[in-house]
């Protein structure tokens, strides 16, 4: 005699198979209605899916190329005036870094083969996301400071530009303000995500970089846990 009375039989994983198989049989019938789903706009769909990322990275690389040309022409034309030389090199380096970041992202995207084993691809996607977010943040945040050498390089396109005009206190103040703004942004980003400020943390979580980075990290950790068994 069983001393324990179960009002309802409990299910185990193997019991769920029969429910799953009954669903499978139902799907087979419903598929008659859904058949067209697999074919509608399939190629267009794949292209549409990737288009924003491709165009975004291509635009970033073109912008980087423009910066390289601007920076190179500045330090080339005014190699004898250190403020222009420095501004030109800075803009040039920024342009190269921007192009490399865009190229790496596109390279990572093109290497993704959805027919490869799931864990490998999910790890690749998480790393791509992490790189994309970090490089995007670096490319954008640099403008706290970069606008000064960028404007200098633009003014340097005029062959007669005088570097003396840029050795002014406001230039140093602007650079200092930019560095302070950059540090403040990074500090706020970290401070706002503290568990002590759940509302602000949630807002930051929804923001582009904070949430994406956390999610990418969480995915990589989840994959590693899964791999460990």
């Amino acid at each position: 005699m069983n001393p324990i009375h179960h009002p309802e039989p409990s299910m185990e994983l193997d019991d769920l198979k029969s429910a799953w198989q009954s669903l499978d049989a139902r799907l087979e019938r419903q598929y008659v209605l859904d058949r067209q789903l697999l074919w509608d706009h399939r190629i267009e769909g794949a292209r549409r899916h990737l288009r924003p990322l491709w165009w975004g990275q291509l635009a970033q690389m073109l912008f980087g190329l423009a910066c390289v040309l601007l920076g190179a022409s500045c330090w080339n034309m005014h190699g004898d005036q250190w403020p222009f030389l420095l501004a030109g090199i800075t803009v040039h380096v920024y342009g190269v870094a921007t192009m490399i970041a865009g190229g790496i992202t596109l390279g990572l995207v093109s290497r993704i083969d959805y027919g490869a084993p799931v864990l490998g691809i999910q790890k690749q996607l998480a790393k791509l996301r992490r790189f994309y977010v970090r490089s995007g943040a670096a490319v954008g945040l640099a403008w706290w400071v970069l606008w000064v050498p960028f404007v200098m390089a633009l003014s340097g396109l005029d062959g007669t530009a005088d570097a003396g005009a840029w050795r002014q206190p406001w230039v140093y103040w602007s650079l200092g303000f930019g560095v302070a703004g950059l540090l403040a942004t990074l500090w706020f980003h970290r401070w706002a995500r503290s568990p002590e400020r759940p509302r602000l943390a949630r807002m930051m979580e929804e923001s582009v970089t904070g949430g994406s980075l956390l999610r990418a990290r969480a995915r990589l950790e989840e994959i590693e846990r899964f791999e460990r068994g």
Binding site: M11, E12, L13, Q21, H41, A46, D113, P117, V118
Partner: protein, 184 residues
Amino acid sequence: MDNATSEPATIARRISAADSPQQRFAALLEQHRGIVLRIAYGYCRHPEDRRDLVQDIGAQAWRAFPSFDDTRSRFSTWLYRVALNVAISQVRNAARHQRHHADLDDEAIAALPDPAGHGHDEGDAAIRQLYAVIDRLEPLDRALMLLYLDERSQREIAEILGISPSNVATRIHRLKQRLRGELA
């Protein structure tokens, strides 16, 4: 369900070497459409999300088809990989949107005809319980469970997920233990 052992013979009847890649792909996908539909039902509750996912899987499979090598893996294994990779990515990217976390679409379940002729209540309750279990799992565990429910061998699950067969056995054992606790 797709029977792995009968796959080569069945495909051979439908696909010839003279077929264009598109015809070959179409025939293979038609043969294995159940995989796409089951994965879509396993990962999406909302009918529109499911529709999007089915289309995305078809699109990505077509895009990745040139890299499919039938001497290295079976089409079903390859399609499982594509479908799971797309589904996991979609479910993660969609996690922030309310629509994708809607409650069970009871109407959609009820609308599916029951081929065994059982009363809807009985079958629907089992499927709801199944969905409730699936929904509580993380995307990778969900993939493992769906493959297990599809009666894939441990070796094939290992091939699809990219982990060792012993790791598959360990994870299935843990999954069973966990579900036993949750379903008791």
